[in-house]
């Protein structure tokens, strides 16, 4: 899953720590999501979208890989 959290953060001039605080997770979690190491929950995705005032699919995008069976 691709995401544009970093871009959205830059637009809003928000640090990882700042975003983490507003969605009640640790900064490391935001870092792991941005770098694609962690697939976040739907609730957290909705919270992040809400902070940026956009819809979820403006930030997150499926990749071919996501359709492959694990």
């Amino acid at each position: 899953m691709k995401n544009s959290i970093k871009v959205e953060r830059a637009k809003k001039n928000l640090t990882q720590a700042g975003l983490a605080k507003s969605v009640q997770v640790s900064r490391q979690t935001i870092n792991a999501i941005e770098s694609g190491k962690y697939n976040l929950s739907t609730i957290l995705a909705l919270k992040i979208a809400s902070v940026f005032n956009v819809s979820i699919d403006d930030i997150f995008e499926l990749e071919e890989y996501d359709w492959e069976k694990n």
Binding site: T15, S26, Q28, T29, Y38, L40, S41
Partner: protein, 158 residues
């Protein structure tokens, strides 16, 4: 939706402390040889048999409780350490916790399988005793290494 079986973070430090005492008591058994008679007490048993004496059920017997205290300290301390929330507990930590737990169970049983095949007699009895604690110990080691890596992870701020 909040659904987990974790204790509050304030139990973490006492958990470490109790576990540490338990592990020290455990290590001491290898040096002291005989259990101190100070720990000889009467205890209630539901079942105590198998060592030649008459079988005893639901009665008071005399027993040295050094082993029991050691095991209880390790298990209670281990459980508190394992199942207390981190200070910054969130869904990513929960994921690390879960994956560390399945890793620990898997490794524990692989080690046990190895022991079943290659270790016999009294040595195997020792392995079985150790095996009572190894799942928790393996978990604690794995989970904390993962947390350490997470905290060390380079931040690419901005």
């Amino acid at each position: 939706m909040k659904l987990n079986f974790l204790f509050s973070n304030k139990y973490k430090t006492p958990g470490w402390f109790i576990l540490f005492i338990g592990l020290i008591l455990f290590c001491l058994t290898f040096f002291i040889g005989e259990e101190p008679s100070f720990f000889d007490v009467k205890v209630f048993t539901m079942s105590a048999n198998g060592f030649g004496d008459t079988d005893r059920y639901f009665e008071f017997i005399s027993n040295n409780v050094y082993n029991e205290i050691t095991a209880i300290f390790i298990i209670v301390g281990g459980l508190l350490t394992t199942f207390s929330k981190e200070k910054n507990e969130d869904e990513y930590i929960a994921k690390i916790r879960l994956s560390s737990l399945s890793w620990a169970v898997l490794v524990n049983y692989i080690v046990l399988l190895f022991a079943i095949i290659f270790i016999y007699d009294f040595s195997f009895f020792t392995i079985m005793i150790l095996n009572m604690f190894t799942t928790i110990i393996f978990f604690i080691i794995r989970f904390n290494i993962q947390l350490y890596k997470l905290n060390k992870m380079d931040s690419d701020e901005k």
